[in-house]
Subunit: 330 residues, 4 copies
């Protein structure tokens, strides 16, 4: 079996802010230090880089050198469609055609950076593409603009893979890429082999999904699960907490199914440790996933296959209990 | 413009129970009386009939005579896949192959009844097809069984239309037909022209959807909005309340878009008036919708088209306010 | 340390229904058999009995004999204010004064049964006392009626303890005893030493509470945590699932705090195993709690006290991870 | 009847940011301009001022002059316990005793500013006082610290009123002042006549409350509703939208009950118009409330009193429908 590759979005290690404390809960760390810290986390072999924040046309070589120097791969480029005023009312589906054109340019820039970094994946999180109020959006036209724009970029860079990361809301009250299924519908509409979906576990929980089921569905309809982001929350908002700090059973089931469907992408950490030390928080997340992976022995995998085939809820529950609190332990 | 046709699910007029008061909050009414009551509601021209509860192989002629006698059309047959112990762990995706075979039979029976009643639509609400606990279901295989079974029935009755009514949960903690987009994915997978989706407004609210956006999406991907059920709730559960008792803006936007996409199916009431007089509750729902329809004058339709094109939230909000509390009134 | 006493609400072992399958998912079991089954569950020493369903004026002696014969204590009497049409629009706060008088009678009956059974606790779950629609209830007057009625009964039976079990909704869309804090406010208003609160873990989760924090709050304001019901859910509805089937961390924290505040009441199972064998489901719940209790060694209790004093989220998370997936295990 | 006095939190008219776009969606406006804009909104007679952002020890006289010059009263001072790193892990219940001491100082400063401004109210929104993770907080001790600190300040400034504004979460995942009832418990514990509660309608919706019922409850237990903040949201998060953009029925019921309980405080706008023009958004909110007020004629008030006494849901629903879409109109 292929070994799991863990990665982290670089910003996880830096400062974090919210709408009340816009200067941040912590101090800003130099990029060199963040990259160095990431490299020291046992198991982490790659980084995801966010446009503007981490990577620009100008610092590509410099950042690449830092990655190489620290033995890290570039896992994905995440274009910045959220941190500039110009995207405030959307990017690919903005009503202003100038903004839509700029979106294409921004996406192309990200794709070119990915090529330069030998990075195979561009991850689109289009958080501003949505709406806030009733009767504010033309659902028909705007979704069409979005599909067209994304198809344009993906067809121009057929050597790269493009993953759409869905999230039901925030920063808009309603996103167009809101859930696994609606994002998959657009992926099918675009119809290109290099276009797929990224599941952020926290976004899926927030959307009321069973994450494992969403992963299986994306696999079923054309092997479209391209990428995975990990974090945790209370199911109501994108709290971006340490992986496994709240959910255990769900994570075991998810990792079971990721193996079953043959997912071989990265397991990437995507958190917002507002008040925690970034490196320690990310390291704890990786350790949690490593712990779960250790539970997925061939025997346990076989047992779990039998459980989902049988469907006895009491037996399934007992299985999880025995995993973590074995009756005959100690 | 075609006049809106209102209908009601017959059981709305009868007794209602829940898990604590299983004998019901009200008294049972004879079928004849319920049908007669429905016919007296101004605007109601059709009925939906639920298997077991309202319609069986045995009473088809009798019920048809009652409908004809009261000047009502049969709008849909809703096969009963929920009120018998045998469906307790699913119908089309039950793990027991015998149950899956029985599901086909039940569906065929419903389809034959529809034919006999000259009813063009069979509405599948597969509420038991899902699961409750983690590690209890094989999401891959069970969804496949479901698609195969439904395709089988739909292809055997190509003269009828089949609508899948989604609902995120209840009676199972997780349904397979959970949201508009995932149900549409299965509709596309089946790939038959007579298969589509039914939106129950309350189910969509409960799923966190913007109902209007879901309607547009179903239209966009192959004109797949086949049927509409109306009720209201607090967005957290299928409370099946009187239409418009909680939401107003959302209903105006929904009816606006139903016109824009050329939906010409029925507007059907689907409530559970636990503690209310059924006929009065249904009549109030129809009146609410008629009130909203009256607001949709050609001028207001044009204004709303301009609003969704412009996207100014304050202007959109002011529009709704002026609709209901005109500044210069009185 | 006093040993934990586990109990179960008798109905957990019987048939279960919902609004779609009102005759039940399973077969009815004779009371004798249910009581016998309860007694065979390792750790279970007591039963809670629901009015109408389990216990009436007429069968007190017979049921008591069955309990004694099976070595079980009667933990609480739960008066039936939900399964008869007469309570459909409320009991203690019904608008009809006749119903309010009947509520007093029903409560007195339950209290007398408790005395006869030497049962120290009457548990009031007033699920019908609330409302469904806006502008349907007089929040001022109805809450007053409720407090007065409950005070009347509690003062008449000062030898018994009365616990109010809160739940945000179902069967009403809004309950008056909705959350820990508002129920506590009424308890304080009543001001009798024998009146307190029952936490049902599932109800608290559904109310968005941190159950452990609610327990501490009830303790802080006058030692008012009188009783505990255990089950699990997805935080959105009262799914009444097997304890620990979804939540682990929350249960460890809860049991930690129950010890810290010196809670010495029963740990009572309150589930609705719709499609599961009742006895096996209840037994699994007890085993889960026993498993958690085993983790609460003096060393772990000390460690947890240090964690809540320090407040380092990463350290707290790591503690839970090590509890269930020790790094150096195996 | 006393005329309703509308006010606005000054920041509503300025720039807005979120965690992705920390420099803000709009441009910064000079304070003079924001105050001038507020004064031009028909009906607005007062301002609430936030510490750090709007008001400091240094600019008191200057700001007061601006208010006077624009004919505006100072409605409340809202001390800044959220926009500085030092409060990142709490203020009154921070684990660090130095921070707790600083909280007292900050509160006293706000109170002194209020005196200087002849402002009768200090509004405490203690958003950082809570916790994020399980096993991270000592619910017992921290709540005690909070009560003690708040009591200290309130007793030192008995000429001022202090309102605690609750909110279930954000910026912490769990707040201590989370809901109306738990905040009221602390108010009762403090036991001072000048301490009460502020309802922010959006916070209450987000907490799953029926806002009208919460207002009545706060009135019932000692007339403790001191202040009201208005905005709107989708019931799941503090979206801080234009008042009435989503909820109508709830607002009518709320304003009905505010009259019934004799609330005579301000109706204050508290929004975050991220992508909207601030002044237009606030003005639209005020217009909505003015529209609702116009509906509350003596006849309608009497009708509504009759409805809540009767409790017929269909009649109540019909009443609202007729208010906004009269059957015999036009």
């Amino acid at each position: 079996m292929k070994k799991t590759r863990y990665s982290v979005i670089l910003g996880n290690l830096g400062n974090t802010c919210d709408r009340y404390l816009s200067s941040g809960y912590k101090d800003n760390l130099p990029k060199e230090e963040m990259i160095r810290q990431a490299a020291t986390i046992d198991g982490v072999q790659g980084l995801e880089l966010v446009g503007s924040w981490d990577i620009t046309r100008k610092n590509v070589k410099e950042v690449q050198a830092l990655l190489v120097g620290n033995g890290l791969e570039c896992v994905s480029i995440i274009p910045d469609f959220f941190s500039h005023k110009q995207w405030g009312s959307g990017s690919f589906c903005a009503k202003d055609p100038t903004i839509r054109r700029l979106s294409l340019e921004e996406a192309r820039t990200a794709a070119r950076i990915a090529r330069e970094m030998s990075c195979p994946l561009v991850n689109f999180w289009l958080g501003q593409d949505g709406y806030d109020y009733p009767m504010q959006a033309d659902y028909m036209t705007e979704r069409k603009w979005m599909a067209e724009g994304l198809a344009t970029v993906a067809s121009e860079f057929s050597d790269l893979r493009f993953a759409f990361e869905y999230k039901p809301r925030e920063p808009r009250n309603r996103s167009y890429h809101a859930r696994a299924a609606d994002t998959l519908l657009m992926v099918q509409e675009i119809g290109l082999p290099n276009v797929g979906v990224c599941i952020d576990v926290g976004h899926a929980l927030m959307a009321g999904e069973n994450v494992a089921e969403s992963a299986v569905m994306l696999h079923h309809y054309g092997d479209k699960l391209f990428h995975m982001h990990f974090n945790d929350n209370y199911r109501a908002w994108d709290d971006d907490m340490i992986v496994g700090s709240l959910h255990f059973v769900e994570y075991v089931e998810l990792l079971f199914w990721l193996r079953e469907i043959g997912y071989n992408g990265w397991y990437s950490m995507d958190q917002y440790p507002y008040r925690e030390d970034g490196m320690r928080a990310v390291r704890e997340s990786v350790r949690f996933l490593q712990g779960v992976e250790k539970l997925l022995t061939p025997e346990n995998m076989a047992a779990m296959r039998a459980l989902v085939a049988k469907g006895d809820a009491t037996e399934s529950t007992a299985f999880f209990r025995e995993l973590i609190m074995p009756t005959h332990k100690g």
